[in-house]
Amino acid sequence: MMISKAFKRALWVFHVNSGSCNGCDIEIIAALTPRYDAERFGIKLVGSPRHADVLAFTGPITSDMVDKVKRVYEQTPDPKVVLVVGACGISGGVFHESYHLEGPIERIIPDAKCIYVPGCPPRPEAIINGVVKAWQFLEGVEK
């Protein structure tokens, strides 16, 4: 993999907390801050889904968040990838069977390209790995 080609696209991530316990959220921020420093690759959090290439979802989707999650997904321009961080977004995690969950995420937005980062919470390295997978997918689209 050539570096120049690899970093043609700087990935911008929009983070959506859809009922997470904050465990994953602090690890996402930890991945961006100096110890792991994903920002040096141009990966950064942006303030609007309209600027984003990757949507990072944390948490099982609670009933209140369903329409907001759908709206954020629709607002993000194509090509886009959904990065599901943490066990909750993948399967409901420890909250499965709860009466206030609509997730996992594939049930809400079935046609999304999802990249799963398992863990409760995943380590920052794993999150960066997930972003790399997202980048590989997006680069494939571009070809």
Binding site: G19, I29, H100, L101
Partner: protein, 406 residues
């Protein structure tokens, strides 16, 4: 002309889903309303319907991923009181060390977020770099960066071994050196002072009236701290004193700046407590009852109700637990997290402030939505939200009391 500005639930300034509705006149905020429930996951229901009491400890840990020791601690304190389980002395010391490590990590995290809300991103990065040291220590002691999974009815599951102690001491030494720089950056920097002094004031009387908890109330001069007022675990041995901003500056204003002072001083206090605990930690067992099935049976037989209180980094955390003999799950479980009461102070703090102050004032109470969203009122058949009058609420409350008394 009045305008209403909704902030959230998905908003770059808020890392968690909550909605703040601000009514503004020009730049001035004249009214504030807070709408939560976006983060409600039905954890109490899970504890009362799906899990056995031991599983509930680890679900309680997922109430909040940041302060993930305070909720299990409250639950364990309450259940231990009902089932009459006594944790060994060494376990109580380990619980104190874990709680204080958590406080350091949580307060540093907050300091970074506060710097970010002020637009001082280089300080965010510096603070989070400094914070990695305590994360490493937590990883050495617990095996994972974030979840601790260590607390258990009648003790702790993991010992602090001799080889861990030098690592923890090294961390304390590291923070002792970093502290002066952090204090200088946060307390003497002109930008931070301008953005936080006289901003988001919560006067002493209002802090008492709103029954706020934790650093939010202590920054208004109220000397309230569960570790001081009702010591639990091994806290009676350390004589913890509630920290108020006048200890450093000689006066109490109750603004965002004072909240920074309180949290900074608490990091220092936590380091002292950990050092003290390491020096005086007794030897011995760490679990009162290592056999899980025996323990579960003991809890299943127990009957009664109790309240567990713990001073979480964000304030006093309370769990109400009721056990019924022969009942597999917790018979009743009610969580009251500190943000739940602190959030009400937003209205007082934001009144007459500018729109640009919303993020830092909102962040200054260190809100934790994942802890807060416990109650939802929904009518499934009509699909409508229902507004309950005080009479309705009273009727429901009486009904619930009767049900619990049964």
């Amino acid at each position: 002309m009045k305008y209403e500005i909704p902030v959230g639930p998905i908003h770059p300034a808020l890392k968690e889903p909550i909605m703040i509705k601000c009514t503004i006149e020009g730049e001035r905020i004249v009214d504030v309303d807070v709408i939560c429930s976006q983060n409600h996951r039905g954890i109490e229901w899970i504890g009362m319907n799906r899990n056995n009491p031991v599983q509930s400890i680890y679900t309680a840990e997922k109430i909040c991923g940041i302060c993930n020791l305070c909720h299990p601690a409250c639950l364990v304190i309450a259940v231990e009181e009902i089932a009459d389980i006594r944790a060994p002395e060494r376990a109580e010391y380990i619980r104190v060390i874990q709680s204080e490590l958590e406080r350091i990590h949580s307060h540093l995290l907050w300091a970074g977020v506060a710097a970010h809300e002020l637009g001082f991103d280089s300080l965010l990065h510096y603070v989070w770099l400094v914070r990695e040291k305590v994360m490493d220590t937590l990883e050495i002691v617990n095996g994972a960066r974030v979840p601790k999974d260590t607390i258990m009815y009648g003790g702790v599951r993991r010992d602090i071994k001799d080889e861990h102690i030098p690592k923890i001491r090294e961390m304390i030494e590291y923070y002792r050196q970093a502290f002066d720089k952090l204090a200088k950056l946060f307390l003497e920097d002109k930008t931070i002072k301008m953005r936080t002094r006289e901003i988001g004031i919560l006067p002493y009387e209002d802090a008492i009236k709103l029954a706020t908890a934790g650093p939010t109330t202590r920054a208004s001069g109220v000397k309230k701290d569960v570790r001081q007022d009702m010591p639990y675990f091994a806290y009676p041995d350390f004589e913890v004193k509630a920290i108020t901003p006048d200890m450093l500056t000689g006066k109490v204003v109750g603004d965002v700046y004072d909240r920074i002072i309180v949290r900074l001083l608490e990091v220092k206090q936590s380091m002292e407590i950990i050092e003290d605990a390491l020096n005086n930690m007794p030897k011995g067992e760490i679990l009162a009852e290592p056999k899980m099935i025996k323990l579960l049976n003991q809890i299943k037989k127990a009957e009664g109700e109790a309240i567990g209180r713990h001073e979480a980094p964000r304030g006093e955390d309370i769990h109400y637990v009721k056990l019924k003999s022969g009942f597999e799950h917790l018979y009743s479980w009610k969580v009251r997290a500190p943000t739940y009461i602190n959030i009400l102070s937003w209205r007082t703090m934001l009144m007459d402030m500018q729109i640009a102050d919303i993020p830092i004032v909102a962040a200054s109470i260190d809100p934790c939505m994942s802890c807060t969203n416990r109650v939802i009122i929904a009518d499934e058949r009509s699909g409508k939200e229902k507004i309950l009058t005080s009479d309705d609420l009273h009727r429901l409350s009486v009904k619930k009391t009767r049900r619990l008394l049964r």
